[in-house]
Symmetry: C2
Subunit: 492 residues, 2 copies
């Protein structure tokens, strides 16, 4: 499917195009500028593979001066720029735009400094999430946010999407774990924002940049917080005969004042797919399982696990299993972390939704998702960060069956609008990208969207950085609102 | 001293002034519009009493419609607006501007909802910080940020300044404890930003608004996180023969992976002033004392207190006292919380600085402050959030002695610039206001300040909301840079 359905591309003239390419060729060595289709094809999509677009060129700068020069050249010629990390994003944040340049930060792989006393790491944007923890491990430290793609995804992309992970309930999202950024704006200005000190004066540019989906600036360097490795961790796996009781158990744990290191739910569709794939030992009789983790000192963990077991039993758990050792704990989590690829094995295609809802509505929303699944005749596996109320319904479909992508997209859109209806949001950690740009019209009022556009204009008045992503135009929203809901829409 | 030394007021014509006052009189009942000098005098300053300015008028709206109408009227007539909570701010964020309207939110005192299950409170901006905790107490919950002024200061002001407190090391600043805001912009548009769900799509307007010092919008309502009251808390008071060893102890505790509920330092000047005032039982022989608090379950607290005592002893503490009961714990803290008024008793005037520094430079910076104190012949008591590296040097002076305010201001400015020099910031929690606007020129580059101005223009192109605060103009910075440092400056 062509990308950016709602995006009217900047008209880039033939002259501007060749002038820009000549300039880029002067800035970058030959291997760092890709223009032929066979070389740009690998960049045509990110993790949202349903949308593809070949870029005009792919630039692979190796240092800051080259990034700045590429940005300035694009700015001068009014050519769009899409920054890209590992391309693991699920919402199309790194999908190229027509006639645009993809700016890959893949060569920025250096861990510049680990300061164990200050518990910080200074890294380049192309450093993989897990590589930070590996480098910090000798000091007993790690980088807390742990998206499931952490083996591959990079810190630059994590910043763009404000990534979370199964442990962000206790340890926070990217925004809570990044202390400072060095960023380049579209005109080539380089800003240092945030500090290693706890707060910074002036407007909070740091929080503004984090989660801005590559639309305000390009990350050149990040200083992140490192967290002391807990002495130990243990996880309880609880089985439930229905999702309603599992949801009640989540509410009971949180209401008791416990902040588990992780609190995840999976329904039977998900556990069945996972069990065939990684043999994590999940209870396939259960309609839903919960994974509740505690970390800290042995005494803290023992007390918290006991408290959680009592609450899980009271909520009606039919079976409780406590990980007996680190290997078993990792096995329990391996299933959860492999949920997406496991579902990928049993269906030609799937869409991963990412709505968040107030925890008290978990049972109601899950029931409604099951109804919608029947209505659309599409299977849906539910995997989610239950403690955060962050849902990840995986809608299964076959893109080769006529109309199935349209149905899946519509089904997904209705889940997101249901999330907004109960007081939640359309995305918890995957970003809006191109995938959820329509639902932004439901999430926000015209005044709120106008504030986003004004903000964008403050940094990038010509809208060259990742155009068409995340924030819909007023025209686009009025068209969308005319149709009333996700329901009556033509294919995205 | 007249306020806003660096601010060139908007020219407001006589006609605009009377037209505006007539409109305000139509919007507000008579008691809610103050124009006579005797009625506006109480609003001429906030906690930064060295700067005073009578406003054109003070508006005391009672509901959202009135706030919006007042903002629209001021916008139409191009008259500046300064929003005001309790006026306890220490950096002049609520100091009126010439020919401007003070918009007091004092009547917005309603706690709209406490949702114990979701652990949130929805409150109006004029609700006092401590009143939230009082309302949440029956549910075993409280609002964590605890500025020393918490008895009086309001949540609207806390949002504007991103306030902290002695427990923010563990529980975060205001930005970490506010989930959603309803805000009015200068043109009267009303935005709902953030949600009770963990993350929100779009740019992070919530973090942007928090700490924006009333320059982007006016808070109409806040949804805040409530925290479960820990089962118990205990504090260790440690004495040190010099500040260097006390600073080392702070570093050792943090490096050990402990996050104390509070970690505060006071030097002898501060403890002496406090002890005379509240008799908290401080060791007056010590050059510095540390207060290190642990909270949690009895087992957690016992383990953490033991670990901290071991580290404090190893760092050379000459005396350790552990609070024996809740009354003693509160007594130890009473001294710390009363430090500002205690210093106020022993000097006609004082300036409270608010720089933050990387913890590793604590000893070096304290030594330099002592040298500067001798150089300027002005006493300085040091009270600070040591765990955060957030200093609060209290510079004592007498405004009636010629040149003392100038000297104190210059001394303070040099402490702030020293903070920047060692990699810290000029403010941790009090805001920039008018007090530290000059040091912003040292903290930020021209490109960074330009980004701030562009951001401001996105929300308030005519610069009517709290003009002249927090972000200096390029002209102002070039003048300041010409003089080289805080040193050669004329009085602020």
């Amino acid at each position: 499917m062509p990308a950016n359905h709602h995006y009217v591309p900047h008209p880039v003239s033939e002259d501007a195009r060749s002038a820009l390419l000549a300039e880029l060729a002067a800035i970058l060595p030959a291997e760092a500028l890709r223009v032929d289709e066979e070389d740009t094809r690998p960049y045509e999509c990110d993790g949202l593979t349903a949308y593809r677009q070949l870029p005009l060129a792919v630039a692979l700068p190796a240092d800051e001066a080259q990034v700045v020069a590429v940005l300035k050249a694009c700015h001068r010629h009014c050519v769009p720029v899409v920054a890209r990390g590992a391309g693991t994003g699920l919402s199309g944040g790194a999908t190229p735009v027509t006639d645009g340049v993809v700016l890959s930060l893949a060569k920025f792989m250096r861990i510049i400094e680990i300061d164990a006393a200050a518990r910080t790491a200074r890294v380049q944007p192309g450093v993989r999430n897990l590589a930070i923890s590996e480098a910090a491990a000798p000091y007993g430290l790690y980088y807390a946010p742990d998206p499931s793609s952490q083996l591959a995804c990079t810190i630059g992309g994590n910043v763009a999407e404000n990534s979370g992970g199964v442990h962000c309930l206790k340890y926070g999202l990217t925004v809570h774990n990044v202390l400072a950024l060095r960023v380049a704006l579209i005109d080539g200005a380089v800003l240092d924002i945030g500090t290693a000190a706890p707060d910074a004066p002036g407007y909070d540019l740091l929080a503004l940049l984090i989660g801005s989906e590559g639309m305000l600036g390009v990350v050149l360097e990040a200083t992140v917080k490192l967290t002391p490795k807990p002495q130990m961790a243990q996880v309880v796996m609880a089985s439930f005969a229905d999702v309603v009781h599992a949801a009640d158990a989540v509410a009971a744990i949180i209401a008791a004042g416990i902040i588990p290191a992780g609190l995840e739910m999976m329904d039977r569709e998900a556990t069945a797919a996972v069990e065939d794939f990684v043999h994590a030992g999940y209870d396939l009789q259960a309609a839903a399982i919960l994974l509740a983790e505690s970390d800290g000192t042995p005494a803290e963990v023992a007390a918290e696990i006991a408290a959680m077991c009592a609450l899980l039993e009271k909520a009606g758990a039919s079976q409780l299993r406590i990980s007996r050792d680190e290997a078993e704990r990792l096995k329990f989590w391996a299933g959860r972390k492999a949920a997406f690829p496991a579902v990928g094995r049993i269906t030609p295609d799937y869409l991963c939704m990412d709505g968040t809802i107030p925890r008290k509505h978990l049972a109601r929303v899950l029931t409604r998702i099951a109804e919608l699944s029947r209505e659309y005749g599409l299977r849906c596996a539910n995997v989610f960060h239950a403690g955060d109320g962050n849902l990840h319904p995986l809608i299964m479909f076959d893109a080769n069956v006529p109309d199935e992508l349209r149905c899946a997209t519509e089904f997904g859109g209705r889940i997101l609008e249901l999330s907004v209806e109960v007081g939640g949001t359309i995305t918890g950690e995957h970003g809006v990208g191109i995938e959820k740009v329509r639902q932004m019209c439901v999430q926000f009022s015209a005044d709120e969207l106008a504030a986003f556009h004004a903000l964008k204009a403050a940094f990038d008045p010509q809208r060259l950085l990742n155009p068409g992503k995340a924030v819909p135009t007023p025209r686009h929203c009025s068209e969308y609102r005319l149709t009333g809901s996700a329901r009556g829409l033509p294919p995205a």
